[in-house]
């Protein structure tokens, strides 16, 4: 077991875990943050997506199922639980709600964090940029159109 210190949603925390334990499992089992979901467990579906800042101030979208916890040492992680502001939803969350971008909810936390990452890079994304930015996040309910609508509305609101 290793003692690993990282910052999750602004809170510095130390966990004792096997170094190859997946970041996803640490978030869900040790820190009880169950927003990130396990879909495929092989980096294809994006339902475990979180944002990870390795120390350079750049929060990158990553699949938490593919990260051994030792590689998260010293990083800042943002999960869906860290996105809301007090008791107010983040504008992206609000847009997914209003546009029907969420149905069963399994993909939604990852979709919203992927959208966050996308809008950081492209504040006014084209439809092609939205499609590419979310290509690693699979949704089996919505058919994606409502998700694209939600992202476009979020871009308009923040722009």
């Amino acid at each position: 077991m290793s003692a690993i210190t990282l910052t999750v949603n602004g809170q510095r925390t130390t966990v004792n875990a096997a170094p190859m334990k997946r970041l996803l499992d640490v978030l869900r089992e040790d820190l009880h943050l169950t927003g990130a979901k396990e879909g495929c467990g092989e980096g294809e579906c994006g339902s475990c997506s979180v944002l990870m800042d390795g120390g350079d101030g750049q929060a990158e979208l990553v699949n938490s199922c593919l990260i051994p916890i030792l590689q998260a040492e010293g990083t800042c992680i943002t999960t869906i639980e860290g996105l809301e502001h007090g008791h107010n939803l983040d504008p992206i969350q609000q847009c997914f709600l209003e546009k029907g971008g969420a149905q069963c909810g399994i993909c939604t936390p990852g979709m919203i964090l992927a959208t966050h990452h996308l809008l950081d890079k492209y504040p006014q994304p084209t439809l092609a940029q939205i499609q590419e930015g979310l290509a690693g996040n699979l949704c089996r309910c919505t058919g994606y159109m409502r998700i694209f609508d939600a992202v476009q509305q979020a871009a308009t609101k923040s722009g």
Partner: protein, 299 residues
């Protein structure tokens, strides 16, 4: 079935020097960079290597440096780093394109060029481009460094020239292809983040022939391929078969036929979970034809 993670060890020496010393004292350690390959195996309960060495955090391996003659990418360069580099986009479009279709954005943020090479999948996305561009590899160990051409690096299925205790340090590409036509296409199940069924990355220098002024011909040609052999391959027989061929509408069908025939002699595609040998061979020939047609346009 899921692996029991307590069966695995992982250490992360703070510097490249320390990592190389650790690897020298125990060459059986398996290096892990972005984890987009090994962690998939872990989740599926099929990662046989139990003791791993993390190199993901080593800043010494994550750089892109440009000289007038070359561009050198550290093995820890991510696909996102490659996509964001203006010099690669302008000088090495085949590599920029390969980076853009390697997995999803999240995987491009973690996956590294070095991992893509050393993992040695026949279907890997960046090797065809690196083969076409005549890349050199610099390998490093506690004993020192050595440089070798990338082409002979792959020795067999998932077998490479990397010696025990060695890491891939960097990849160097000569900046001599500005005048070349570039063509690349990957055929997978879907556009986004599918693993290739077959892919080609091609370069051709088409200029007036020395003996036939006014008639453009193939002065130099390089064809890198994924999923046609047991490792990423340069299709040298195909290149030789059409070198110095003129690019004329009347002769192009014969050139295409010669290229297809040569490709059939050196391609050894297989049937597997993603495709069939027959489909791969047919599509590779079609991509080759598309590439040769693209050489007809104005230079």
């Amino acid at each position: 079935m899921r692996s029991n993670v307590t069966d695995y060890s992982l250490i992360a020496p703070a510097t490249l020097t320390a990592a190389l010393q650790t690897l020298a004292s125990d060459p059986t350690l398996t290096p892990i960079a972005g984890g987009t390959e090994l962690m998939v195996a872990l989740s599926a309960g099929r990662l046989p290597q139990k003791r791993l060495l993390s190199i993901n955090h080593l800043k010494e391996l994550r750089f892109i440096s440009v000289t007038p003659e070359t561009i050198t990418l550290g093995s820890g360069t991510t696909f996102t780093d490659i996509r964001g580099h203006a010099g690669i986009a302008s000088d090495f479009p085949l590599l920029a394109q390969a980076a853009s279709w390697t997995g999803s954005i999240a995987n491009q943020n973690r996956g590294t060029l070095g991992g893509n090479i050393v993992n040695a999948s026949p279907a890997a996305d960046s090797p065809p481009a690196l083969l076409a561009y005549d890349a050199d590899l610099t390998l490093i160990s506690a004993a020192g460094t050595r440089t070798m051409p990338y082409r002979p690096f792959h020795l067999g299925y998932k077998k490479t020239a990397l010696a025990p205790g060695e890491l891939l340090h960097s990849i160097t590409i000569p900046r001599k292809f500005a005048a070349y036509r570039a063509y690349t296409r990957k055929v997978g199940t879907r556009n986004a983040q599918a693993i290739s069924k077959v892919a080609l990355a091609c370069l051709a220098l088409v200029t007036d022939g020395p003996d036939n002024p006014g008639i453009r011909q193939i002065q130099d040609i390089r064809i890198g391929a994924a999923s046609l052999r047991e490792f990423p391959t340069r299709c040298t027989a195909t290149e030789q078969a059409i070198l110095n061929h003129p690019i004329l509408r009347e002769t192009l069908p014969a050139t295409i036929a010669a290229a297809r025939a040569a490709l059939a002699t050196e391609a050894r595609p297989i049937d597997d979970i993603r495709s069939t040998a027959r489909y791969r061979a047919a599509v590779a020939g079609n991509l080759l034809e598309e590439f040769l047609h693209s050489l007809q346009g104005a230079s």
